[in-house]
């Protein structure tokens, strides 16, 4: 086995094509689900590209790199992992075809393969540069006018904006969970959001909170029909009481959270215990004396807690039997081994700090609960508690989600879909430019007059010198984004004002983008052509004119910000809503991420084999079970 291996464009293409064929059958609205089984009988059911790809056994470093890129992208945007691989594969194919024709550029290289690789690298760099500098201009001018705006302001009301928001959620759940339950989950999701929405504050704050604490906020229950999924008020701790819980409780209860051990652990392997009595080191009766001292200290801690009126103890670690006995005797409920996320959520909602030093217990460590009782969810008993005056303090009504499904695999699938929905919303609602303000060249504003303006259609487009794209732009699904961007890039490539290189690059990207809708409608070419015709009909004849429903306002808006909202096209908008909606921001991020991954892939030209296992941590985090095999690293 050669320790050093040259990587050729063929290898890259073959690896990515294999990954593409893995996800191809699950792609699109008619895509199927993949059922993974283990020898232990555990099943995993998924349509999410990220889960499918991370479940594969891959030892090839290129494949692992691509899967890692997909995983990272999906962790941030929550969606689009299959589209990622599809776009990457089609870009690679086009670059490969172009590079084999254009190798004369780098004739200084020794072999054709090296020249091909150099051309491909050059093309990828140019593509990335083009996308980073000019792509957003195309999206703003050519894609956004055909889209809608969603916002989280009062999303339960039945206005146009909220219809778009609901449709966005429904289409997302449809792609993940199928047609049967997408409406049900959409309602559940909106209910969860409305409970957690912090009043008079940024709506995305609550989504951030939900996204970060989702593992602690939901419980998966298997063996129960899906329609039993519901919200429970308060928090659910996924542990049972370690001490018997007396039935009668006076309200409100007091609780305390412990980070460490109440009784200091005695000797473990490697510890040296030095016992002092005054100044001398005693040796006789040392350990007995010490353990009786620790037991007395536990009793004093419990006595202090009793003086505060604490009756519920939440502990992060497993406590000793002496502590359990003391707590039972004092009539306190104790829950041990509470996970870190649950403790952090508890402290956030109750406003207390966990006790790290047991000898210093102060009032700010004591939380007030309305109730704390055991709860049976499926086959497990959990602790159910609610906070006193949380609504006044934090302006939020905490609730926990119970996700029910007939099997564990399905419950897991639903929970992942929920989590990814939060991430998708966060990406959709964040502005497309965070760091730089783009200067869109001020074109001649064609003053178009609209006759009938409905209340829902707030359309104000004003081409200004400096603009920041507003958040929450969505567009109809089914390839509309790709068709529009393809058309725009294609026109740009053919226009006379661009250089030959830029034209080539933009046409390359345009061609690659078309592979996505082509795959969506792969079962029926007629539908592809129909979809393309329908989308092309939306594009106005004049290149710089905007749609007739837009109004031109005079003067700059407040603080120089441009508000680019949706435009209602009457019947057309309703028809497009039938197809579902997807976020423009997610798509833009996807294209950028794909181009960056492509550049990194093509920069590699050598494989180095090592005989030690590298990346064990990331290897474990990606795969459900790790194999201890020889690992290889790339140059």
């Amino acid at each position: 086995m050669v320790p050093l291996e040259q990587l050729h464009l063929n290898h890259v293409l073959q690896t990515v094509s294999a990954l593409e064929s893995v996800i191809l059958r699950s792609f699109g609205p008619e895509g199927g689900q993949v059922l993974f089984t283990r020898d232990t009988g555990q099943v995993m059911l998924s349509r999410s590209g990220k889960r499918i790809l991370t479940a594969l056994h891959l030892d090839h470093p290129l494949a692992r790199m691509v899967v890692r890129c997909v995983w990272k992208h999906s962790t941030i945007t929550g969606d689009g992992s299959k589209t990622f691989v599809l776009l990457l594969a089609s870009l690679l194919r086009i670059i490969h075809a172009t590079a084999s024709k254009e190798t004369h550029m780098f004739q200084s290289h020794n072999s054709t393969k090296a020249a091909e690789a150099a051309t491909a690298r050059h093309l990828a760099d140019k593509l990335l540069e083009f996308a980073l500098t000019e792509l957003d201009k195309f999206i703003v001018l050519n894609v956004l006018p055909h889209g809608f705006c969603v916002s989280l302001e009062n999303f339960t009301a039945k206005t146009q904006h909220n219809l778009s928001f609901q449709t966005l959620l429904v289409s997302f759940f449809h792609t993940r969970l199928g047609y049967a339950y997408c409406d049900f989950f959409r309602n559940l999701f909106c209910e969860l959001l409305s409970h957690w929405k912090v009043k008079d504050d940024q709506p995305s704050f609550s989504i951030h909170l939900l996204n970060n604490s989702f593992p602690a906020l939901h419980t998966q229950v298997s063996g129960v029909p899906v329609s039993c999924s519901r919200l429970i008020e308060g928090q659910v701790i996924h542990r049972d009481f370690a001490t018997p819980c007396p039935q009668v409780r006076k309200q409100p209860l007091k609780a305390a959270v412990f980070n460490g051990y109440l009784q200091p652990k005695l000797l473990t392997t490697g510890d040296v215990l030095e016992l002092r009595c005054g100044d001398k080191v005693t040796e006789d009766r040392g350990i007995v004396h010490f353990s009786s001292w620790t037991e007395r200290s536990v009793e004093s801690i419990i006595a202090t807690l009793q003086s505060f009126g604490v009756s519920v103890l939440l502990c992060a670690l497993k406590q000793s039997t002496a502590v359990l006995a003391a707590a039972t005797q004092a009539g306190m409920c104790l829950v041990e081994c509470v996970s870190e996320e649950e403790i952090s959520l508890f402290t956030q909602l109750s406003g207390v700090t966990p006790i790290s030093d047991c000898r210093r217990i102060h009032p700010e460590h004591i939380a007030t609960l309305t109730f704390c009782k055991p709860l049976l969810l499926g086959a497990h008993r959990c602790v159910h508690l609610d906070f006193h005056d949380c609504e006044e303090r934090l302006k939020v009504k905490p609730c926990s989600l119970v996700i029910c499904a007939p099997s564990e695999g399905q419950a897991d699938q639903h929970a992942c879909a929920f989590q990814d929905a939060f991430r998708m919303l966060l990406t959709a609602l964040e502005p497309m430019h965070k760091t730089q303000k783009k200067t869109i060249p001020s074109e001649e504003c064609t003053s178009l007059h609209a006759d009938n303006i409905s209340n829902e259609a707030a359309c104000r487009v004003h081409l200004h010198q400096k603009c920041v794209i507003e958040t929450g732009c969505v567009i109809s699904a089914g390839g509309t984004f790709e068709f529009l961007l393809h058309h725009a890039l294609h026109q740009y490539g053919h226009s006379c004002s661009v250089s030959v290189n830029t034209s080539a690059v933009s046409q390359l990207l345009a061609k690659a983008l078309l592979s996505v809708p082509r795959q969506i409608y792969s079962h029926n070419l007629k539908h592809f052509l129909q979809a393309q015709t329908r989308v092309m009909a939306l594009i106005p004849r004049q290149p710089n004119a905007l749609s007739t429903n837009l109004i031109h306002t005079e003067g700059p808006l407040a603080d120089g910000k441009l508000s680019l909202c949706s435009c209602n096209k009457g019947n057309m908008s309703l028809k497009l809503l039938d197809l579902g909606l997807e976020s423009v921001s997610c798509k833009y991020q996807l294209v950028l991420a794909v181009l960056q991954c492509l550049t990194n892939l093509l920069r590699m030209n050598m494989l180095l084999r090592t005989h030690t296992i590298l990346h064990t941590k990331s290897h474990n985090s990606l795969n459900a079970h790790s194999e201890s095999s020889e690992d290889e690293d790339e140059d």
């Binding site: 290898h11 073959q14 294999a18 064929s21 030892d59 004739q107 080539a504």
Partner: protein
């Protein structure tokens, strides 16, 4: 779509028809390989970091730690099917094709009449696998089974069985065969002529005349064959 505007000494020409076919075939093969690899990955095979030494495809490894190359072990067997060294049926079909070619070159005529049993005995019986039916059927078409009713005289020993294509008869063995056939036909012709001269009934005369005409046709064919 030139990226470099000023290429000095290399002019890219579009690929020719044959090259396009090769490129297309290669692309289809790569697509097939990718699809197969994807299927195996979903079945639980592991994608290794090594490539096959023969074809350069990425290797897969199954649960029993056995390496598997998709293109060598699955796709290339399509070509092995046509290799005569590996497949007896392919060998037979190749032999049959060669016979057909030789027959066409020898301008095999349509033998309507009087193939004698001696001619039939020249044919070597061959095993007939189903795959080679097509080639054999083509060969058979050149020699349709003669449908002429045999004349009532019992002396006729003409066997009108479906004729199998002869196995490349050499010219040296053909000559005595043809001479014998000619001899037999001439004999029959003479006999028919004498019968016709002494015949009284109309029916008999008509039959004898038809016999004479078929004998003459056979003679003509035999003469053409001998040339």
């Amino acid at each position: 779509m030139a990226l470099n505007g000023d290429e000095e000494d290399f002019e890219w020409e579009p690929p020719t028809e044959a090259e396009m076919k090769v490129i297309q075939a290669r692309r289809e093969r790569q697509d097939k390989i990718s699809k197969l690899m994807g299927d195996y990955l979903l079945k639980g095979y592991k994608m290794l970091g090594d490539c096959c030494e023969v074809c350069g495809t990425v290797l897969l490894q199954d649960r029993q730690q056995k390496n598997y190359c998709v293109s060598c072990q699955e796709l290339d067997s399509d070509i092995d099917k046509d290799n005569p060294a590996l497949n007896p049926q392919a060998a037979l079909s190749q032999v049959r094709e060669r016979q057909l070619a030789a027959q066409v070159l020898a301008a095999a005529p349509e033998l309507n009449g009087g193939p004698t049993s001696s001619l039939a005995s020249v044919l070597v019986p061959q095993p007939r696998p189903e795959h080679c039916e097509g080639a054999a059927a083509g060969g058979r078409a050149l020699l349709p089974p003669p449908a002429v009713a045999s004349p009532p005289p019992p002396a006729s020993t003409t066997t009108l069985a479906p004729i199998r294509p002869p196995v490349c008869p050499q010219n040296t063995t053909l000559q005595p065969v043809l001479e014998e056939a000619e001899e037999a036909v001439l004999t029959k012709l003479r006999w028919a002529t004498t019968q016709l001269q002494s015949s009284a009934s109309l029916e008999a005369s008509i039959q004898l005349c038809s016999l004479i005409s078929s004998c003459a046709n056979s003679l003509r064919s035999l003469r053409e064959l001998s040339q």
